[in-house]
Amino acid sequence: MNLKDLSLIDLAKAIKERKISSYDATKYYIEKCKENAHLNAILEIYDDALENAKIMDEKIANGFEGKLAGVPVVIKDNILYKGKIASCSSKFLENYVAQYNADVVTKMLDAGAVIIGRANMDEFAMGSSTENSAFGITKNALDESRVPGGSSGGSACAVAAGMCPVALGTDTGGSIRQPSSYNGVVGIKPTYGRVSRYGVVAFASSIEQVGPITKNVKDNAYMLEVLSGGSEHDETSLKMDSCNFLLQIKGDIKGLKVGVLKEIEDAVKGLEVEKAYNDAKEFLANNGAQIIETSIPDFKLALPCYYIIAPAEATSNLGRFDGVKYSKRSQNAKDVDEIYIKSRSEGFGKEVKRRIMLGNFVLSSGYFDAYYNKAKKLQQKLKNEAKTVFEKCDVFILPTTTGEAFKIGEKMGDPVSMYKEDLFTILTNILGTPSISIPFGKGKNGLPLGLQIIADNLNEGVIYNVADFIEQNLREV
């Protein structure tokens, strides 16, 4: 059986029907990981993966059924899998062994998944290129001189290079969608609260979500169904069961109301992504969708808003890494204060420190109201503006990035230009609404560009329908 072109859904079916064993499939993907070691997408292949695959084969033989029965999966290095290292690509947590399972890990294991390894990322998910990993940069699966995007760069690269049929990422400001776009794969940031965050090392709690990265849209819908559902461990998870998103894929977008933002028309002018974005509008219109001009007037403020809220939360979330309970303790510390200061100064990378400092700036007395409180009010204003969009439209579209993947090292010296990488993705983290990135068009070097489809809260089904329609029909344009 040729696993290379098999989708996640087909692989799950083949294993279920015992046309291929979980063991063979797992072995195949592990070999692919090893073949692609030079991409540095995978930090560790778990040594018990094959053994677990064997156990799954037995279970399947005994009638076990699960959506992921025997299916190999890769997780991002900030998701806890009990007994395995979860380092967040940080020197500080290099040897941190998870003491419990993240809810998403539990859900995948319950569905029968074989978790084969953990993927590289920007340290603590802070970055847009995976260059901030303490364990080396990951290369773009399609052009090794370029970044894979970030922070879930390892996950997106692994899927694109065929090292796994699905990988989990986390998305705080675009960290699933931007690398998906750069590697030509499909990634979704679900509605805030759709997926439990329990056991996912927190960066910016109020805006981040776990989501799947897959080769195609249906696989993505299939996987999100496994991950979704409220959890008693996460107050911010929505108290509702998962749902079958595949059922909402209807192969038709006639009459669909697609919003395009006035602000984007200006923002894309002269950008590499301009043509692809305009093509997308045309494609949707040509296929029966109704294009509606609409507006989120404060769109551009989403980016600075994010760079207040996210660092503020991160500062507080990262306080627990102090060299006392589990992170690496500095050898040079003589007292408690030095344990804190030296362990953290030695353990954290530059970008992480920058954001901790920024977070403390916006939270500290004298600045709190001008920055943090103002940003929260702005967030509410943006939500209100989006509400008027969804009163008129089923979805709206945005480019995922300004262009194709940039060169390794190109933006490392300039944090602000790196931050602006997230210009188009950050909005939905601030809004909480679901957003997918699917490949759409090519850049000037023939590398993929991405298109985001955004719907109101809990309307992932609508998103998947549009995304799948585009994926199925785009070739014919």
């Binding site: 760079y307 006392v324 510390a333 003589k334 509410q380």
Partner: protein
């Protein structure tokens, strides 16, 4: 609009709050970068949000967790990743109380 400037003292205060330390060379490159970032976030400081209210995500008292005890983790599991433990406890150099 004038760019927010940041002084060495301010940076040191933030470092103190952050439990971080920087060498002089690190500080020299840190400050201009940080000012650029502040320039970015100042767009929020200077924007108009009207009499904006913050809408807290909320739930009802009755939907909260019931007061039931569940099993804790074993002590050795709790201490497993600690750089230093003694007598079933996490351990740091002696502090003055």
């Amino acid at each position: 609009m004038s760019k927010t400037k940041i002084t060495i003292e301010e940076v040191k205060r933030l470092a103190d709050l952050s439990a971080l330390e920087f060498t002089d060379e690190e500080l020299a490159s840190f400050i201009p970068e940080f000012e650029n970032i502040l320039h970015l976030v100042d767009e929020v400081k200077n924007c108009d949000v009207g009499d904006g209210q913050i809408d807290y995500p909320k739930h009802l008292l009755c939907s909260l967790r019931d007061d039931q005890v569940k099993e804790s983790l074993p002590q050795e599991e709790i201490l497993k990743n600690s750089p230093k433990t003694k007598k079933g406890s996490f351990c740091v150099p002696k502090m003055l109380d």
